[in-house]
C-alpha cells in the first residue's frame, strides 16, 4: 500500500505537511508530495480539506522466493523451557489448525528439546505431525542451534507458514531464521487469517506504541513467518485419543557460540514491571485490609499482570510505594486496568486514565472511578474478585 497526493485536487494549502510525524511531506511546484520516508501512518489522509490524499495498492513487489507456490503446510515452533512446552505453543496450534484448514494443508509442530511425551502432547493439542529433535544442546536456550536447525528444516520441507510465540525466546531467534532464509517476519501479531482471494496470510499487529493497527502481507516470499502474543489466540481442543506422526530429527553438528552459564528464576510479582505490564490489578482504600492484596496478587498472577495501588493503600502500609499509581506514584498505560476498591480521586486517575480498558469494582455506585470505567461493577470486592478468579481458573483449565 502507498499513500499518494492527487495533484489535480491538491490546492497547496500545506495542512498535511505539519501533520506528518516523519516529515515525509514536502511541497513541489506548490503541490504536496509524499516522499519515500512515509511510514504509512495515514495521519495526513484525514487532515486534507480537499480529500486529495489517497491510498493505492503497491505496484512493485519484492522478487520473492523461487517456487513460491510449492511451499505448503503450517508449522508451529513449540518453545520449551526446562523440558515443558510453553502455553503459547498450544494456543498457536489452535490458530494454526484454522489456518491449515483454510489452506487445505497439514499442521505440524517443531520441538527442539524436551522428551517424547511432550511431543505427544503436541499431537493431542492438534498437530498432525511433530518434528522432534532431542539433543542436550537444547536443554538451555541459545539462539544459534535453534536458528540452524529450524532453517535446515524449513529449507528441506518448505512450509508455507511458520509461527511461534512472541516471547523472549521467539522474538530473539525467529528474526535470525527469517534473515537466514531471506523471508518476511511479522512480530507480535494479534490476529492471523487467510485471505480467501490470494491465499496469503493476513497478519495484523499493533504499531506506534499501540496507537494504530496494521495488516501486513508477505506476498512473494516463503515461508510467511510470524510471532504471536501469548494469551491472544485460543487453544484448540485437547484430544487424548488423537494420533499423529512424530519424526525424529538429528541435530547433527549444530553448535552455539553463546553458552548459558546459569538460570535464575524470580518471583513473578517483582518481575512484572508496573509500567510495562499489559494488565494491572490495583487496590485502594476500599480493600479495607492488607490481606486484600493477596487476593489481587492471585488475580494478577492469573492474568499475567502486575499489582498496583492507590496512594491510600500505600499510606496505610498495605503495599510498598513501588506499586503506587497516580500523581505521586507511577503513570501507567496497560491494556487492562482493574481498579478494586479505588474511589477514583483525580490524583489517582491522572496515573491510569489512558489505560485501554478500565474495569472498576467498588461498593459505592457514585464513586468517581465509574466516570472513567469501561466496565462498571458495583459490588463488594471480596465477592466479585474471588468470583473472577474462580471463573478464570475454570476457563484456563487449571
Amino acid at each position: 500500500m502507498r499513500i499518494v497526493v492527487d495533484v489535480e485536487l491538491c490546492t497547496g494549502c500545506e495542512t498535511c505537511v505539519s501533520s506528518c510525524p516523519y516529515d515525509a511531506i514536502v511541497m513541489k511546484d506548490d503541490k504536496a508530495f509524499i516522499n519515500e520516508y512515509c511510514q504509512l501512518c495515514r495521519a495526513c489522509l484525514e487532515v486534507c480539506p480537499e480529500g486529495a490524499i489517497k491510498e493505492t495498492e503497491t505496484a512493485e513487489a519484492a522478487a520473492g522466493t523461487a517456487d513460491r507456490d510449492s511451499y505448503s503446510g503450517v508449522w508451529v515452533f513449540a518453545e520449551q523451557r526446562d523440558g515443558r512446552v510453553a502455553d503459547v505453543a498450544l494456543e498457536l496450534l489452535g490458530a494454526g489448525r484454522r489456518l491449515a484448514d483454510a489452506r487445505g494443508s497439514g499442521l505440524s509442530a517443531v520441538l527442539f528439546g524436551a522428551d517424547a511425551s511432550e511431543a505427544e502432547r503436541l499431537i493431542h493439542w492438534g498437530a498432525d505431525r511433530v518434528y522432534h529433535a532431542e539433543d542436550p544442546i537444547f536443554e538451555q536456550f541459545n539462539d544459534e542451534p535453534n536458528v540452524e536447525l529450524l532453517s535446515r528444516l524449513i529449507e528441506e520441507h518448505r512450509p508455507e507458514i511458520v509461527l511461534t510465540g512472541a516471547t523472549p525466546i521467539g522474538r530473539s531467534f525467529f528474526p535470525r531464521v527469517a534473515a537466514r532464509v531471506r523471508t518476511g517476519l511479522t512480530a507480535d501479531c494479534t490476529s492471523l487469517e487467510i485471505d480467501p482471494e490470494t491465499g496469503n496470510l493476513l497478519q495484523v499487529r499493533p504499531a506506534f506504541g499501540g496507537n494504530i493497527m496494521a495488516t501486513i502481507l508477505c506476498p512473494a516470499s516463503r515461508p510467511q513467518m510470524a510471532t504471536v502474543r501469548p494469551r491472544v489466540m485460543k487453544r484448540g481442543e485437547y484430544d487424548a485419543a488423537r494420533t499423529g506422526e512424530v519424526l525424529k530429527i538429528e541435530a547433527g553438528g549444530v553448535t552455539s557460540r553463546t553458552r548459558v552459564a546459569e538460570t535464575i528464576k524470580e518471583v513473578s510479582e517483582t518481575m512484572v514491571n508496573l509500567q510495562e505490564a499489559d494488565v494491572i490489578v490495583a487496590g485502594g482504600r476500599g480493600l479495607g485490609r492488607p490481606e486484600g492484596f493477596e487476593m489481587l496478587e492471585e488475580l494478577a498472577g492469573l492474568l499475567g499482570g502486575a499489582v498496583g495501588a492507590s496512594r491510600a493503600a500505600v499510606d496505610e502500609e498495605w503495599i510498598p510505594y513501588s506499586h503506587q499509581v497516580g500523581q505521586t506514584g507511577k503513570t501507567v498505560c496497560p491494556k487492562v486496568y482493574i481498579a478494586c476498591g479505588i474511589s477514583g480521586a483525580v490524583q489517582h486517575l491522572v496515573g491510569m486514565q489512558s489505560s485501554d480498558i478500565i474495569v472498576a469494582i467498588n461498593k459505592n455506585p457514585d464513586a468517581p472511578i465509574f466516570n472513567v470505567a469501561d466496565y462498571a461493577i458495583v459490588g463488594d470486592v471480596y465477592e466479585v474478585v474471588p468470583a473472577i478468579i474462580k471463573r478464570l481458573r475454570e476457563v484456563k483449565g487449571r
Partner: protein, 260 residues
C-alpha cells in the same frame, strides 16, 4: 574496543493521539526523539568504553532530519556519528533495514554492536538479531545487566519471562538492551557544544557495497496492506447481577476484546 550503537529517530508515540472522529493519528506538536531504548544502548556503550577503552560510534538509517538524533547522541558522549541516507533505502521493512545497516557496519568495522530492544514506532525488535545473522556473529537479546566484561568476551544477563539467564558470549557480538540495564546519562554542556559542531559522516548505498536488489522496497518481503485504528472505546457498560454473573460477563467481554 570499537563499539557501534544503532539508533533510530522516532516520533514520541507516548504523545501521539488518535483523532476520535477520523480515527487517524494526530501529530501536532509531537516531537521526534531518540528511541528511548536506544538511549540505554548508547549509555551501555559509553560505560563499556569507560571500562575497556575504545570508541563509541552511533549509526542511524533515516532521512536527513535523523541527524538531530545523532547529534543528541554525541552530546551525551558518543565519539562519532554516521547517517545512512539514500533514497534507495526508502520503504525498507525490517529485513531490508537490517541488511542495509549490516553492510554499513561491515565497512565501518566493529568489536561490538549495541541496539535498543525495539523501536517504539515499529515495535518489532527484529532488526538487531537480523543484523547479527547477516554479519555472521552471535547475539544476545534483552540484556538487562553485565556480569563480566573482558576484551575477549562477556557474561551478560538475558531477561526471560520468569527471571533471567546468565549468558556467556565471545566477541564480536551484537546485544539488544532493555531499560533495566542502566540509567542513561543526561547530555553535558561540553557535549552539547561539541555536538553542535560535530561532523556527521553520510553514507549512501554506494558507500556500503550493498546489493541494490536487497535494499528499500525491492528488498522488503513484507508490506503493509492496510492501516486502521484499534477498536474504539465502547460505551461504558454496567455489569450487573450476582458476583458470579458479573465475573462471567467481565471475562466474556475481555476475551471478546482479546485481552485474555
Amino acid at each position: 574496543m570499537k563499539i557501534v550503537v544503532c539508533i533510530k529517530q522516532v516520533p514520541d508515540t507516548a504523545e501521539v493521539k488518535i483523532n476520535p472522529e477520523t480515527n487517524t493519528l494526530v501529530r501536532d506538536g509531537v516531537p521526534s526523539i531518540i528511541n528511548p531504548y536506544d538511549l540505554h544502548a548508547v549509555e551501555a556503550g559509553l560505560q563499556l568504553k569507560e571500562s575497556l577503552g575504545g570508541s563509541v560510534t552511533v549509526l542511524t538509517m533515516g532521512p536527513p532530519q535523523a541527524e538531530a538524533a545523532l547529534r543528541e547522541a554525541v552530546s551525551i558522549g558518543a565519539d562519532d556519528a554516521v547517517l545512512l541516507t539514500d533514497r534507495a533505502f526508502a520503504g525498507s521493512d525490517t529485513l531490508a533495514t537490517a541488511y542495509t545497516l549490516s553492510c554499513a557496519v561491515r565497512t565501518m568495522g566493529f568489536d561490538m554492536i549495541l541496539c535498543g530492544k525495539q523501536a517504539i514506532d515499529g515495535d518489532t525488535a527484529q532488526v538487531g538479531p537480523e543484523m547479527a545473522e547477516f554479519l555472521g556473529i552471535p547475539h544476545v537479546a534483552y540484556v538487562g545487566g553485565f556480569e563480566e566484561i573482558a576484551p575477549d568476551g562477556l557474561r551478560v544477563r538475558r531477561q526471560m519471562e520468569d527471571g533471567y539467564d546468565i549468558v556467556e558470549t565471545p566477541l564480536p557480538v551484537l546485544l539488544t538492551v532493555v531499560r533495566e540495564l542502566n540509567q542513561p546519562r543526561l547530555p553535558s554542556l561540553k557535549g552539547k557544544m561539541k555536538a553542535k559542531k560535530a561532523e556527521i559522516k553520510r553514507l549512501s548505498h554506494a558507500d556500503i557495497g550493498a546489493d541494490v536488489e536487497r535494499l528499500g522496497l525491492a528488498g522488503s518481503p513484507t508490506q503493509v496492506k492496510r492501516i486502521f485504528a484499534p477498536e474504539a472505546k465502547k460505551e461504558r457498560k454496567a455489569l450487573t447481577g450476582t458476583p458470579e454473573e458479573q465475573a462471567d460477563r467481565l471475562i466474556e467481554e475481555l476475551r471478546g476484546l482479546k485481552c485474555l
